[in-house]
Symmetry: C2
Subunit: 630 residues, 2 copies
C-alpha cells in the first residue's frame, strides 16, 4: 500500500499496489486532465515525480504518464499547473459512497437452514413375511408419524431399487407444502446422500442472468456465474420482447433461449463446484413479471396493454423438466411471486433479501436496472411502483452509452475552469463509450461546472472546442477520436441529457408520489437501499446532484448489491423466507404511475437539474450558491 502525495494540493492517499497514478488522483480528489480513459494515448496526464521511485512510461518532453505509471515506494507527485489551474479544482470532494448493506446488515442473511427440500437419512427394517408392507408403506411408517406424507408418483419408479441398493438405508427428500403438517416425498436415494443437497439460485434480469450454487446444509455459495440474457437479441427491453412474443413461435423462442441459458449456467456452476447435477434439489428464481412469464411460457399479450394483467403473480412450484430444463426429474423450481405487471419477483425477492419487511424504519428501496422499480415502506406496510425510467442509466438511449465492460468510461471529472475532462475507463483501455456511473458522473460534472444549465442545455457562450454543435444538436466531446478504440469522437449530447433528465425525473417523481400517497416527504426517509449493481459504483453526491436520488444525509444510503439474487438464495435456504416473499407480494400496494395525475405533476417538476424546487436538494442548493460547483 504505497502512499502517494499530490502537490500542490498536498492531498495524500494510500492505495493498492499496481494501481496507476491517474486512478490514485481520481480517488484522492485530484484533477489530472485525461481524456483517453487511462489508455496511455492522449498524453495529457503528465505528472512529475518529486520523491520516491516509480515504474512506467516517461513522456518524451519530460514527466510521466499518470495513467501508465505505478509507484514502487511512497512517492510525492507534482501535478503541473496546466492541470490544476484553479485551487477550487482541489476542493472536489471524495466520492460519497453508500455503505454496503450486506456488510452492516449481514446478520439478516444468516438464516436458519430450513430449506423447502430437506434430506433425511432413514434406516428401515428389512421386510419379512411377518412385515411385508409395501415399500412406500415402509417409508411412510418411518416418516409419516409427525406429518401427513404426500408422495410424488415419480418416486415410485425408482423406490424399490433405491431401498434394496441402499440395503434399506435411504435418503428421503421431503418438500414443504403450504401446510406445516404436510410434507411431500419427492425423491428417495439409496444410502446416505444427506450432504448432497444444493440449490441453484437465479436472478433473471432483462439484461443479465446471475446464478449461484448454494449448499442448503451449510449455506455456502459453492459457485457463481452469470451471463447476458440471450433474449436480448429479440429486444433490449421487456416491451419489445413482448412484441416479439406475438410472432409465430415467438414465445417458444424466448422461453427456449432462457431455458438454454439456465441449463448452461447450471452446467458451469456444477463444473466449478465439482458437484453432480444430481445433488441439486431445487432452483429458486427471482425475475421480473415479464421474465417470469417467458420462463414458464405464459402469454404476455394482456400484460402488455392496459390494464396490464399478468396471467399470475404467484406461481406454483413447477418441475424443472416440465418447462424443458435439462435437470433430474425431482428438481423443482420455486419462483418469487410478483406484484404487478412491472413490479416483479425480483423486487419482492429484493425486499425480503434486505429484510425490509423486518425493520421499522421508513425505507425507500430503489432498483435501477433496465427499468426502475421502487418500494417505500417498512415491516408494517409497503407501497411499490415501476417508474418507467428506461435503461438510460445502463447506457440505453445514450448516444455513446454502453454496458459496464472494459473500455467503458466509468468516471469523469470536469475541470471547473478549463472544463477539461479527467476520464477513466474500465480496465484502463481506450474508451469505447460511457457506462452508467460514467454518465452520472459526466452529467453531474457538466452541471456543477456550469457547462450545462438547469434545463440541461449546454452553455452556448463557452469558447472551448469541447462544447460544439454536432449532428444531434449541441454536444460535449468527452474523448477525441484519436484516443478512442472506435475511431470517432465520444460525445455527450443534449439529447442524451434530455433522456437522462426524463429518466431521473421519472424515478424522483415516483419517490414523491409514493411518499405523498402515505402523507410523507423526502425528509421522513430513514433509509435508502440501492439494489442492483448500480448502487455499488455510484457516487452518491453526483447522483443527488442530477436529482436521481433524494438529498438526505449520505449515511442513510446503503447498497445491497443483487438483492434479488440474495432473496432467491434466502428463499432456497429458508422455506419461511419463501413464505415471507408471498406475504410481501401480497402486502405491497402497487401504484400504477402511468395514469396517476400526481405522478405526472411531479414528473414535470422533475425535468430540471436537480429539480424545479431546489429546496428539495439542500446540499446541491448550497453548493450551487457557494459557487463550489465542481
Amino acid at each position: 500500500m504505497p502512499k502517494v502525495t499530490f502537490l500542490p494540493s498536498e492531498k495524500s492517499i494510500e492505495f493498492e499496489d499496481q494501481e496507476n497514478l491517474l486512478k490514485a488522483a481520481m480517488d484522492a480528489g485530484v484533477h489530472i486532465n485525461a481524456s483517453c480513459g487511462g489508455a496511455g494515448v492522449c498524453n495529457k496526464c503528465r505528472i512529475f515525480i518529486e520523491q520516491g521511485q516509480v515504474q512506467g512510461e516517461e513522456l518524451p518532453d519530460g514527466g510521466w504518464k499518470a495513467c501508465r505509471t505505478i509507484p514502487l515506494t511512497d512517492i510525492v507527485v507534482r501535478v503541473p499547473v496546466e492541470s490544476e489551474m484553479d485551487r477550487k479544482a482541489l476542493a472536489r470532494p471524495l466520492a460519497a459512497k453508500a455503505v454496503s448493506w450486506i456488510k452492516i446488515h449481514g446478520e439478516t442473511l444468516r438464516l436458519r437452514s430450513e430449506p423447502v427440500i430437506t434430506k433425511e437419512l432413514i434406516d428401515l427394517p428389512e421386510p419379512s413375511v411377518h412385515d411385508n408392507i409395501s415399500d412406500l408403506g415402509r417409508i411412510r411408517r418411518e416418516l409419516g408419524q409427525a406429518f401427513h406424507l404426500d408422495v410424488d408418483s415419480q418416486v415410485l419408479y425408482k423406490l424399490p431399487y433405491a431401498l434394496r441398493q441402499g440395503n434399506w438405508q435411504v435418503t428421503a427428500s421431503l418438500m414443504e407444502t403450504a401446510r406445516a403438517d404436510h410434507k411431500r416425498l419427492v425423491r428417495v436415494q439409496p444410502g446416505d446422500q444427506v450432504m448432497g443437497n444444493c440449490a441453484v439460485c437465479v436472478d433473471i434480469g432483462t439484461t443479465t442472468v446471475s446464478a449461484q450454487l448454494v449448499s442448503l446444509k451449510g449455506q455456502e455459495i459453492l459457485a457463481e456465474s452469470s451471463n447476458y440474457n440471450p433474449q436480448v437479441s429479440f429486444g433490449e427491453d421487456v416491451i419489445s420482447r413482448m412484441e416479439f412474443s406475438r410472432k409465430v413461435d415467438g414465445l417458444e423462442i424466448l422461453k427456449g433461449k432462457i431455458i438454454k441459458c439456465l441449463n448452461q449456467l447450471i452446467h458451469e456452476l456444477t463444473d466449478k463446484a465439482d458437484i453432480a447435477v444430481e445433488d441439486i434439489s431445487l432452483i429458486s428464481i427471482a425475475a421480473n413479471t415479464v421474465m417470469t412469464h417467458f420462463l414458464l411460457g405464459l402469454e404476455t399479450k394482456f400484460l402488455r396493454a392496459q390494464p396490464y394483467i399478468p396471467v399470475a403473480n404467484q406461481f406454483p412450484p413447477v418441475r424443472a423438466r416440465e418447462i424443458g430444463m435439462d435437470m433430474p426429474e425431482h428438481v423443482r423450481i420455486f419462483l418469487a411471486p410478483c406484484v404487478a405487471s412491472y413490479v416483479g419477483g425480483d423486487i419482492v425477492a429484493g425486499v425480503v433479501g434486505v429484510g425490509l419487511n423486518h425493520h421499522p424504519e421508513l425505507t425507500l428501496f430503489i432498483d435501477i436496472g433496465t427499468n426502475g422499480e421502487i418500494v417505500l415502506g417498512n415491516q408494517d406496510w409497503m407501497a411499490c411502483a415501476a417508474c418507467s425510467a428506461g435503461p438510460a442509466f445502463e447506457g440505453g438511449g445514450i448516444k455513446f452509452g454502453m454496458r459496464a465492460t472494459v473500455g467503458a468510461i466509468e468516471v469523469v471529472h470536469i475541470h471547473p475552469v478549463t472544463f477539461e475532462p479527467m476520464a477513466l475507463t474500465i480496465g484502463g483501455k481506450k474508451a469505447k463509450g460511457i457506462c452508467g456511473s460514467g454518465i452520472i458522473s459526466l452529467l453531474a460534472g457538466l452541471f456543477m461546472t456550469g457547462v450545462l444549465d438547469r434545463q440541461g442545455k449546454f452553455r452556448r457562450d463557452l469558447d472551448i472546442q469541447r462544447v460544439r454543435p454536432g449532428t444531434d444538436g449541441w454536444e460535449y466531446v468527452v474523448v477525441e477520436k484519436e484516443a478512442t478504440s472506435i475511431g470517432q469522437d465520444i460525445v455527450f449530447t443534449e439529447a442524451d441529457v434530455e433522456n437522462l433528465i426524463r429518466a431521473k425525473g421519472a424515478m424522483f417523481a415516483g419517490y414523491l408520489t409514493l411518499l405523498e400517497s402515505v402523507g410523507m416527504a423526502v425528509e421522513d426517509l430513514e433509509r435508502i437501499i440501492l439494489a442492483g449493481n448500480f448502487g455499488s459504483y455510484l457516487d452518491l453526491d453526483q447522483a443527488i446532484i442530477i436529482g436521481l436520488l433524494p438529498d438526505i444525509p449520505r449515511d442513510k444510503f446503503f447498497f445491497a448489491g443483487n438483492s434479488s439474487l440474495t432473496g432467491a438464495r434466502a428463499a432456497a435456504i429458508s422455506w419461511p423466507k419463501f413464505q415471507e416473499m408471498k406475504q410481501v407480494g401480497q402486502m405491497m400496494t402497487h401504484f400504477d404511475l402511468s395514469d396517476n395525475p400526481r405522478f405526472m405533476d411531479h414528473y414535470v417538476s422533475c425535468l430540471f437539474l436537480p429539480h424545479t424546487d431546489l429546496s428539495l436538494f439542500p446540499t446541491v442548493k448550497e453548493a450551487l450558491e457557494s459557487g463550489n460547483r465542481n
Copy 2:
C-alpha cells in the same frame, strides 16, 4: 308370459316369450335329456304337446324338439317316460339363487354427489386500471375465500384465453385434496361447462376390463363397455405376466397394452354416450395389485417373490397423460388402494362398493375370479386373504373349460337313474366347452347322483357309456362329438375334478382360517356377498354341494355383480367414498395363507366333496343321507 305345465310331474312355470321349452324345463326343475346344449342337433329332447299351440321343429318320428320349440299360448307338455324314468328326478329343486345385493341394498349406492373434481361457474368482474390483479388472482379472489387454493401450473397456459373467451364467465374445475381446507384448481374453461363433468370408472381385472362413463352431476351411467385384458396374450395369470415383465421392455409392453385398451374403451364410451372427451374430468380405477403396478409401469420383481412386497399400496393421483394415456391434460387417475400383493384395489373397491364397512353384520365377501380373494368382517374390523384358488371356476385348467361365451355349457342336470345329462349352452348353440357355472353344476350333479364319490373319483362299476376311461384317466362324456361344434366329445375328467376340488378347497380353507383367526365359525356368518359375475349365475345349492360355499341359509347369500366397478364408481361420484377406500385399505388385516399352517390343515380337510367333516354341510349331509341326491 305363457304358462307351461309339464306332465307327468305337473310342474308349471310362466316364462318369457320366445324362450324355448328346454330352458323352461330346466327352470321348472324338469329333467329332459339333452346333450347338445340346446342346439337342435342331438334330437334327444323330444316332448309332446297335449294342449295349446307351439311353433318350432317337429321330429320326424313324432313330438317336438324342446330346445327348438316355443309356446304361442299356454300349453301342456308331456315329457316321455324315457326322459323321466324315476319320479325322484322330478324332485330336483329349483336353482337356489343369491339375492341381488344391488336390488335390496341399492340405497348404499345412492350417494351424495360430491365428486373429487367439481365444477363451479364463476362470474368475474372485468379488469380495469383500478382492478388489475392477475388473471389467477382474480379467480383466487372469487374462489379462495373458504379454502386455500392450490393451482396446477398447467392451468396458467390457457387461463388468459379462457377468461376472455368466456367474457369473464368461466367454469373452474376444483379437485379435493388430502386436506379439507385445500382445493386444487386443475382447469378453467370459458363459459358455462358445469354440466360436462364426467368420470370414467374402470375395473381392470386380470382377464376382463370393464368400464363405465358416469355423469358426476346426475350419477347416471351414460355408457358401458368392456373388453378382454390384452395382457392375456402375455400370460393368463398374474404370475406369468410378472415373469414376462422381467424381459427386456416387458413391463413397458404390458403397460402399453393396458393403456391402449383403456384408450379404446374410453373412446367407445364417449362415442356411445355422444360426449366429448373434454367432458371427462377424472378416471377412477380399481384393479388388483399386479394390474395396478402394470398400469403405472411399476416394478413387480419384489411383488413376485417372498415376502411379496408391492412398491406401494396407496397411489397418489396421477395425470392420465403422464402414464401415456391419450387424454386431455387435466384428467387425473384415482387408483383404489391395495392391501397386499394379492389383495388389491379391486377388493377394497368392492368392499366399499357393497358398503361392508357400514354394516354391523359379520359378513364374508367372496370374489372368485382369476384368483379368489375373501374378506371377513364388518364395519369395525376386516380380515382378508387371497386363496390362490386359481382360475378353475373360470374354466382355467379344466380340459374343456372355457369362458362364459356363446356355446359354453352353462348348466347341466344329471338324471339320477340314467345319468343322462340335460345340458344348456349359452345362446343355445352347439357346445364348445363348459363355463364356470356349468362346471359347478356338472360337478354337483355327478356327485349327488353318485357318479362321483366323495374323493372325486368316478364310480368304476357304472355300466354306462358316458363314464369311461379316457386319455387323461376316467371321464364323463357330457356331449358326444356329433352334437358339438368342435368335432370331439366334450368330457369332464377326474383330473378336472381334482383341480376343482383343490380350488374350492383353497377357498373354503380360506374362509375357515379367517373365521378361526377371529374365534368364529361358519355358523356365525350373517351374510355372504358374492362379488364378480360369478355370483349372479351361480346355483347356490350346487356351489354348497361341492363345498365351494358355506352351508348356511340361502337367504343370507347376496350377489353384488362387479362390486369393484361399483366401488370405483362410488369413489368417482363421492370423494368421501374414495377416502373410505383408503381407510378400508388400512383397516384390513391381511393374512398371508401361503405360509399359514392352519390354512394348510384346513386345506387338506377340504379336499373332499364337500368336506371331510360333513357336519359343516348339514343340508348336503341330509340330502346324501335321505338318498335325495339329484
